[in-house]
């Protein structure tokens, strides 16, 4: 992986604003109500990750750890276990290409190769403009329309390599999050 392809967001690593703290507190409190006094780190971190550009900056994790009453180390251990959560900066859109059996059989390798060519990055990397992070994924559970991928929360199926430029263009056009 070439280092200049990584997206750095140094401004995200600075101290949290008052608004940030209020937002995080609200997310945690809302989750506590939903789970009858317990909390779900997963629920909280999904929502938080969404706000901070598809990853969890260190300062944010520190504050969430304080709010849920655990150590930063424990929370970090949790985050780094689950592939849908990230402590490393990712693009504005995360592309998850299913590479598991059913998609493999029906053409996932060609889909992945074409995405790498179109985006100019390899699996696990982010485009220089910060628009897309390309990830390989285990089965997404939409094998009826394989090969398939998800971009953020949206699924795309029955793909051929020639469908991909249009999909990327549509996401770019509609996607100034």
């Amino acid at each position: 992986m070439e280092p200049d392809k990584k997206v750095q967001s140094p401004e995200k690593a600075t101290a949290l604003s008052v608004e940030d703290r209020a937002f995080l507190q609200e997310v945690v409190e809302r989750d506590r109500v939903e789970h009858h006094g317990r909390v779900s780190y997963m629920d909280i971190l999904f929502e938080v990750e969404h706000r901070y550009g598809n990853f969890l900056p260190g300062e944010v994790l520190r504050e969430v750890a304080r709010l849920v009453g655990t150590s930063v180390a424990q929370l970090n251990g949790f985050v780094t276990f689950y592939t849908m959560l990230s402590t490393k900066p990712r693009g504005r859109h995360v592309i998850r290409v299913c590479t598991s059996g059913p998609c493999h059989v029906t053409g996932a390798p060609a889909v992945m190769a074409e995405l790498e060519r179109l985006l100019g990055v390899g699996e696990g990397e982010t485009t220089p403009d910060g628009a897309f992070t390309l990830e390989g994924s285990s089965c997404l559970g939409i094998c009826g329309v394989s090969p398939a991928l998800m971009i953020d929360d949206d699924a795309y199926g029955n793909l051929t390599p020639k469908d991909l430029p249009g999909i990327l263009a549509a996401v770019r056009a509609g996607g100034a999050q």
């Binding site: 999904f46 276990f81 598991s100 059989v105 089965c139 329309v145 929360d153």
Partner: protein
């Protein structure tokens, strides 16, 4: 009171259909119906998947019983003006309904089919609790609440229902174990972390009939003395989570969840937790760890979850499909349920058909249905009229078999008797054009990526398997590679900490057994590159 409409158009808006444009079609359809002033006679109803995935966006028009396939927005005008206004079927879009009924409803090829799990999917609006109730929904809960908890468990035990997630543990026995534990709190957990590659049945149940899970979990709570239920849904299943949350809210509003359900003293509440993309969380203890805000790593067994489960309390953990069987069993009786299936395995199985098969999708068929029936009768054969290269049954943690196994009846005993695994009901078909070794390398890559890392045999073993398969693919394997692969398989079986590690060998051992020539040819054609001869 709901308005009565003379015509009803049903459109599936499950994830698969939505990504093929179902919502766009639905919105345009509603708009066009309004334009032609038909809104008082024609209703458009969202439903879960019809189990038809190879026909694009599908519409069903009732009571005409006409199905349209591959519908695009440009077809809507014609459907409205021709069919709805003039009563003329748009023939170029009509699809043979026997296609869907063959796969989901009626009898075919002498084998009677019965929808038990998928009794409502595609027939009702999954977001309407009234429609669920209209089809005997929550009647099983009412019936259970009038029985003794022990009687409820006895019905399930007599039904011989076994867990549908892959392990096949008797459900009645599991509930009975939790019921006899003395504890201030107990939990009912639904494993909806559907991650076995090629499995997409739980998604269809959750999106198409979420109330069936809500009802079954409440029954489990009553039978075992639990008051809290948790559904753990994989994080990618955005629509499943939304549908389930709505079902829980509606059931609570109707007094079917919460305190004093149906005027009895029984209280039960349900919550949804989501997964974060970890295959191992399908393992019951890893799943419970994840709910407890831990890394999803398995625990020592025993004690098992019925003794010490979630938060250390007695816990029932059942798969989505297992729960979906519970209300019909209570309503129709254990004898009725046992009348489907085989002596070793009662009831039906929901199969997920994928790969190079004409009719990809979900099929509910009695236990004991053969691979041939699934692939050719329900599946419509191989795409492009090609031949079968290989099949994988049961998931990535399942067996790789050849055409020779096509007549094996699939049930819980088929692994023991014929070395064909049932697993979660995956039937993945690869045509003769798909090379076997790169496929197995992908399966190896999957296990390597998804190993939780807790135990050495799985963490390091999956890396070794992947390295060997990659070397076979690139024809750089050393002469001892296959012996090493076989030895590794024994290590997995004998020393892995949890069931997932122990299941890794299924695919590779069966592939070695059924396609030895593929491995031998790759080995014979291999040249070890000098620089890397010391690796592996």
């Amino acid at each position: 009171m709901k308005k009565l409409f003379s015509t009803q158009i049903v459109i599936p808006v499950d994830s698969n259909s939505v990504l093929q444009g179902a919502l766009e079609v639905k919105h345009l359809l509603e708009e066009t119906i309004r334009t032609y002033n038909l809104a008082s006679q024609v209703s458009v109803v969202e439903t879960g998947a019809l189990g038809i995935y190879d026909q694009g966006v599908v519409l069903a028009v009732f009571p005409d019983d006409v199905y349209y396939g591959n519908v695009t927005p440009s077809d809507i005008q014609e459907i409205v003006t021709e069919h709805l206004l003039k009563g003329r079927v748009v023939k170029r879009l009509a699809i043979d309904r026997s296609l869907s009924s063959r796969r989901m409803v009626e009898k075919e090829t002498g084998k009677s089919q019965q929808k038990i799990v998928l009794r409502n999917a595609g027939l009702i609006d999954p977001q309407s609790i009234d429609e669920y109730i209209a089809r005997d929904g929550y009647a099983a809960l009412a019936k259970a609440l009038a029985m003794q908890p022990g009687e409820v468990i006895q019905v399930l035990t007599d039904s011989k229902l076994q867990g549908r997630g892959g392990a096949g543990f008797p459900t009645g026995l599991k509930w009975g174990m939790v019921a006899k534990e003395q504890s201030d709190e107990k939990y009912i957990v639904c494993n909806a972390d559907e991650g076995e590659p090629g499995t997409f049945k739980d998604r269809l149940i959750l999106e198409g009939d979420p109330h069936s899970i809500v009802e079954a979990m409440a029954i489990a709570g009553y039978a075992t003395g639990a008051h809290i239920g948790i559904v753990y849904v994989r994080g990618e299943y955005v629509m499943s989570i939304a549908r389930l949350k709505k079902a829980i809210a509606d059931a609570t509003a109707y007094g079917l969840l919460g305190d004093g359900i149906l005027g009895t003293g029984f209280s039960f509440n349900l919550e949804v937790y989501r997964g974060g993309g970890a295959y191992v969380c399908g393992e019951e203890f890893a799943l419970l760890e994840s709910i407890e805000n831990q890394r999803g790593e398995p625990r020592n067994k025993p004690p098992f979850p019925p003794q010490r489960g979630l938060f250390g309390k007695p816990t029932v953990v059942n798969n989505v499909e297992t729960f979906a069987n519970v209300p019909p069993i209570l309503l129709n009786g254990s004898e009725w349920f046992r009348s489907f299936g085989t002596p070793s395995s009662a009831g039906t199985k929901v199969f997920s058909l994928s790969g190079d098969i004409v009719n990809r999708g979900i099929v509910e068929a009695p236990m004991g249905t053969t691979l041939r029936e699934l692939v050719y009768d329900f599946g419509g054969g191989i795409t492009g009229g090609r031949h079968i290269g290989f099949l994988q049954t049961g998931g990535s943690a399942g067996t790789v078999v050849s055409e020779r196994e096509l007549d094996v009846p699939l049930d819980f005993s088929s692994m023991k008797t014929s070395n064909v695994s049932l697993g979660s009901g995956v039937i993945l078909v690869a045509s003769e054009d798909v090379p076997l070794l790169p496929f197995l390398a992908e399966v190896a890559h999957f296990f390597w990526h998804e190993s939780c890392g807790r135990c050495t045999p799985c963490r390091e073993g999956t890396l070794q398997v992947k390295t060997i398969l990659d070397a076979l693919v690139s024809r750089t394997a050393d002469p001892a590679a296959l012996q090493r692969l076989s030895r590794l398989m024994n290590t997995f079986t004998n020393t892995s900490f949890c069931g997932l590690g122990q299941a890794v060998p299924l695919a590779f051992e069966s592939a070695l057994r059924n396609f030895p020539q593929v491995f031998e040819q790759a080995l014979a054609a291999s040249h070890v590159p000098e620089a890397s001869a010391e690796s592996v």
